[in-house]
């Protein structure tokens, strides 16, 4: 009851401000539709605004990964719309979608984020090369980004010589490199010890505060949840909570 109220308030507010960068309408994802259908997402309506620092929580199997994958254009929904910057990405063809991801969305995965044969610098630079950014700009931005995640001393180090936390920080820098509209991170701290997890979150927070980078991440870790300014709770594919802190 309370949750619903807050949720409605938020929708109202965001609509008035007109600053939504992601709008999700009646989003549904059904797995195994033919045999025993699993409603991984069941009619979700949601909006995200620029500059959010949002955490998605919920028990295992509640649909967090499913939602982030759909918003990131990595998977296609069974029903509903995902409008990013006036584009309904559910209607995009696979080839267009890849390019859309490249230009608009930054990703940080739980693991296997980096190309093992490339150094930290090359991993960050790689995304800009895909985008066709010139060498000079690439070099400049790569160094800035690695500096902002506190890895200026690891520029020429390969992933296997970096700790898990350092690798995830490179992944954040890599995700930022393309100047995306927002960054999606599915359990980015799941494989990290608590200190590294805290450190990663701190860096994300600073980037959010100082550079207005939008982060949407999921987690099971209460300490990570505590850092978020908006917490969306999923249960059985439905939103059961959406709380914003100031």
């Amino acid at each position: 009851m309370t949750n619903d109220l807050i949720y409605n308030d938020l929708r109202l507010m965001t609509n008035i401000n007109g600053m939504n960068i992601i709008e999700i309408r009646n989003l549904t994802k059904v797995y195994d539709a033919k045999t025993i259908p699993v409603y991984a997402l069941n009619g979700v309506d949601l909006a995200f605004r620029e500059g959010e620092f949002t955490c998605i929580v919920g028990p295992s199997g509640s649909g967090k990964t499913t939602m982030l994958n759909l918003v990131g254009g990595l998977d296609s929904p069974t029903g509903g719309e995902i409008v990013i910057d006036n584009t309904d990405i559910t209607g995009l063809k696979s080839r267009m979608l890849i390019d859309f991801r490249l230009r608009n969305i930054g990703f940080v995965f739980q693991s296997f984020n980096l190309i093992p044969v490339l150094t930290a610098k090359e991993n960050v630079e790689f995304i800009m090369q895909l985008q066709g950014v010139n060498k000079e700009q690439r070099d400049k931005r790569t160094l800035e980004l690695l500096d902002s995640v506190g890895l200026s001393d690891k520029i020429n180090v390969r992933p296997n010589k970096l700790s898990g936390g350092q690798q995830q920080r490179v992944a954040v820098a890599r995700a930022l490199a393309s100047k995306p509209k927002f960054i999606l991170a599915d359990e980015p701290t799941a494989n990290l010890d608590s200190k590294s997890a805290e450190n990663l979150l701190e860096i994300m927070e600073i980037l959010n505060r100082e550079e207005n980078i939008t982060f949407i991440f999921s987690t099971h870790d209460p300490r990570v949840v505590a850092k978020a300014r908006r917490v969306i709770t999923l249960e059985d594919g439905k939103i059961v909570g959406d709380i914003s802190k100031n």
Binding site: N69, R101, L102, F107
Partner: protein
């Protein structure tokens, strides 16, 4: 960038990549060496045929090669030869009397081609004199009349030795039977035992009186400075000597032409089979690699690497893997071929058998530059073709499935 990643990827699993590279290297080294032996044998055979037997071009009366009758001689053969010998592409020219006849010793009789030659002219065109071993006498030495030079095989057949007498018998230009006794001055031995059995050489000056005609020649043999000039020289000869029959060595020995072109094809078949077999190993390795890198490839596609780039990356990686082995294999193959080209490979234990087919006992492996160029292209294509299946497999990956944590 994709180039760089692909190249670095090759060295990710060093042991596995080395196994592929080594197998490609060994396959090609072996293939090239085997092929170089075959082409080396062919090359030698062709050279010997030309130098000892056919020369580059022969000229006859248009009827002569049909039934080898001595009445079909070349009018004015010596002045024609004189004219040709002045051409810049021509190394040497000689005229010959050529008649079919019999050679008889007290023990045996054999049908032979009797070649009437001018030893000085002849030595410039034909290397036959050089095939006479130290123990085989000489090539028309001294001034004695009625010397004859015969092949080893014929000497054995007639059971004659140096200085033995042989009676030569033939029908002369007027249709009368002519015969005379000759003494064996030299016994040559080419790699072609059939040639050695059927050809005897006599000085023109000894043969002319028996012919009764005046200084007639049935054959003009031409050797050029360069074998590649044959078509040019042939065209020129045909336009200058329209009434005569002009043939190059392949036309004179059509079976040689056939064998050479069959071998040229065979060489590509051998290399093709080797590359085909290697391709299986490459495909297998690359399929494993794509399977192992499922998550990484999924991540790359998730963050925005297009399918065509993923395809190219796998493709390049496969081509690199193939080319590295291919280039090392070509270098080793070339080195091995080059080494044995200088030292030769002695197959004298097999030489009796080879000799019957006109092959030399010592083989000098050889590979043409053209074959190397084509082989490079073939290796490159093998790489590309082997890459298609793994690269397609990579394309079928769906990012969500690839990155899902099990």
């Amino acid at each position: 960038m994709i180039f760089k990643i692909a190249f670095k990827n090759v060295w990710r699993n060093k042991v596995r990549s080395m196994i592929v590279i080594i197998s490609v290297t060994l396959g090609l080294t072996g293939g090239i060496f085997a092929v170089s032996i075959i082409t080396g044998m062919m090359e030698q055979k062709v050279r010997m045929d030309i130098n000892n037997e056919t020369s580059h071009i022969q000229i006859h009366h248009p009827q002569f090669l049909k039934n080898f009758e001595s009445q079909y001689s070349i009018p004015d053969a010596d002045s024609i030869a004189g004219m040709i010998s002045k051409w810049s592409d021509v190394k040497a020219v000689c005229t010959r009397i050529r008649i079919t006849g019999m050679a008889a010793s007290p023990n045996s009789v054999a049908g032979v081609q009797i070649m009437g030659v001018d030893p000085l002219q002849e030595k410039k065109v034909s290397d036959l004199y050089a095939t006479i071993p130290d123990t085989g006498g000489g090539y028309f030495t001294g001034t004695r009349k009625n010397q004859i030079v015969i092949g080893r095989k014929l000497a054995d057949k007639l059971k004659v030795r140096l200085k033995s007498k042989i009676v030569i018998r033939f029908q002369n230009t007027d249709g009368n039977l002519a015969e005379a006794a000759f003494s064996v001055n030299g016994i040559f031995r080419t790699a072609n035992t059939v040639f050695d059995e059927t050809n005897v050489f006599i000085k023109k000056s000894d043969l002319n009186p028996l012919m009764e005609g005046e200084n007639e020649s049935q054959e003009i043999a031409v050797i050029l400075k360069d074998i590649d000039k044959i078509p040019v020289a042939e065209t020129l000869l045909k336009s200058r000597l329209p009434g005569l029959d002009i043939r190059n060595w392949i036309e004179l020995r059509p079976e040689m032409g056939l064998i050479t072109s069959a071998i040229a094809i065979e060489v590509y078949i051998i290399l093709g089979i080797i590359l085909f077999a290697l391709a299986f190993g490459i495909v297998n390795t690359m399929m494993m690699i794509v399977f192992e890198r499922t998550r990484e490839l999924g991540m790359l596609m998730a963050v925005g690497m297009s399918k065509s780039r993923v395809f190219r990356m796998i493709m390049l990686e496969t081509v690199f893997l193939t080319l590295i082995g291919g280039i090392i294999g070509m270098i080793l193959g070339a080195a091995l071929t080059g080494f044995f080209h200088r030292t030769g490979i002695d197959l004298s234990s097999l030489s009796k058998g080879l000799g019957a087919y006109g092959f030399d006992a010592k083989i000098y492996p050889f590979i043409s530059r053209e074959l190397y160029i084509n082989l490079t292209v073939m290796i490159f294509c093998t790489g590309i073709l082997s890459a298609i299946m793994p690269a397609r497999k990579a394309l079928k990956l769906k990012p969500v499935e690839a990155i899902r944590i099990e």
